[in-house]
Amino acid sequence: MTISSTTFAFVSDLVRQQAAIVIGPGKEYLVESRLLPIARDAGLDDVASLVARLQANPDERLRRQIVEAMTTNETSFFRDRDPFNALTQGVLPDLCRKRVATRRINIWSAACSSGQEPYSIAMSVLDHPLITSEWQVQVLATDINEEVLARAEQGRFSQLEVNRGLPASMMVRHFERAETDWRVVPALRSMVRFKSLNLNEPFDLPFMDVVFLRNVLIYFDAATKAEVLQRVRRIMKPDGFLFLGGSETTLGLDDGFDRVPIGTATVYRPKGAGPVDLPSLAGPAVAGAGLANLGGGMPGARSPGGPSAGNGSAAAAASAAVPRSRTGGSPTRARPASPAAIDQPPAHSPNGWPWGTPPSSAAWPAPQPPRQPLN
């Protein structure tokens, strides 16, 4: 039984009021999974009863518990999925065309925390068929907190952390076991550079093609948000891309950006950047493990001067043996990729397609209008 829309509305209103964080549609499952334990602890059967209790009896402790449960920093890989789909299907192909002269792409993960975001970006790059070994792609990962930065540099994640949002096929190719943990393999680690940085102070960075500034502006007041956005825009290439968190927007803060939809994601580009060339949305689906495994064996080294991508026999065997699964940046509903452009999938792919169409749907779903960013 899924939670009702009134229950969901109550919770998202509460969280918006108390924490200025928006829980958008599509997150009903999160409300269910986060609040059910709290309901149980309170001796109740379900989330609806929990909400009813809070409505009947304003209970500050319970209210705080609920808000905290909903706003705990979700550290997961490929968080929210859409931005990474947009990165793979729209941004990287566009940059591959535009940066042909230098063959260099700079990406900045501006509040990298424990590292899931920069490593997710790096995995998307490593797996991208258009980014061959002549390209130099650097991911700069910064955070103000030196302790989490040190952790992120280790590239070690617990079993519980790698269970979150990381497609299994990517896990076996980009990670290796290290005692009770999983650790990023050297080829992935070498793509990311870590640095301590305070967004609230002037910073000096090389010009960036792509910036991920996700779920960090929420911690600042409006004036600071505007300053940070302006500083970020100044170190972005004029035709660069900025990703914000799902409920964030530059509207009302910095008018130097245009809001550009890419699939179901929203990206911000410095004004005048021009349209995003998106033939890849009709071309080969690029996200995920499958395409990288075409022709068997690992793709060539992506990182500058990095080791060849043979990460040891386990990973190499993985890439040769793993069928093109539907994971690895599998897109959400709007998925107009043309079947004809995709190579013959291996016989045991579901429905014949490596990703995109859930096995139960018979035909490609019609492209959906871009989701409005939540303000």
């Binding site: 617990s158 079993q159 519980l160 076991r177 005692e179 009770t180």
Partner: protein
């Protein structure tokens, strides 16, 4: 020199299992100094292959009842022996499977068995052990290794 999981590793694994399924609170599982292994209920899985041995999870009857109640979302008073066997077996399976992945492989993990009392495997000895406390009840996790076969 092959790596054998340390007592810390056993603790980390047990803690991950406990916090995922039994306790919202990661602090609910404490390391106790107790050397006394209380073996009222023991869940056990065996390994055979590159590593031959067993992983055992032992706890008091009342801890077993509480664990089953948590896993099955029941009141402890409603828990029957069937739930206890299933719960302790699955907990031993989860701890054991994760320990297996840190041992030399490949090895095959058996289905769990649950016994009331202490279990001993002829020819095997304890190589690692960790003693924990959960809700004031003792809990022990041990890794056993089969003695090497004569050449």
């Amino acid at each position: 020199m092959t790596y054998i999981p340390s007592a810390d590793d056993l603790e980390v694994i047990t803690r991950e299992v406990w916090t995922s399924f039994l306790d919202g609170d990661p602090a609910g599982l404490l390391v106790s100094g107790d050397d006394v292994a209380v073996e009222r209920v023991t869940g056990c899985v065996h390994l055979s292959g590159a590593y031959t041995g067993s992983i055992m999870l032992s706890c008091s009857g009342s801890a077993a009842r509480d664990a089953a109640a948590a896993l099955f979302s029941m009141q402890p008073g409603d828990v029957t022996q069937n739930e206890i066997i299933d719960a302790i077996g699955e907990l031993a399976n989860m701890v054991g499977g994760n320990v297996k992945s840190m041992l030399p492989g490949p090895s095959v993990l058996s289905l769990p068995a649950v016994v009331q009392g202490q279990l001993a495997v002829p020819g095997a000895h304890v190589v690692r052990e960790v003693h924990l406390t959960w809700r004031n009840e003792p809990l022990a996790v041990s890794l056993w290794q089969q003695a090497a076969q004569a050449a």
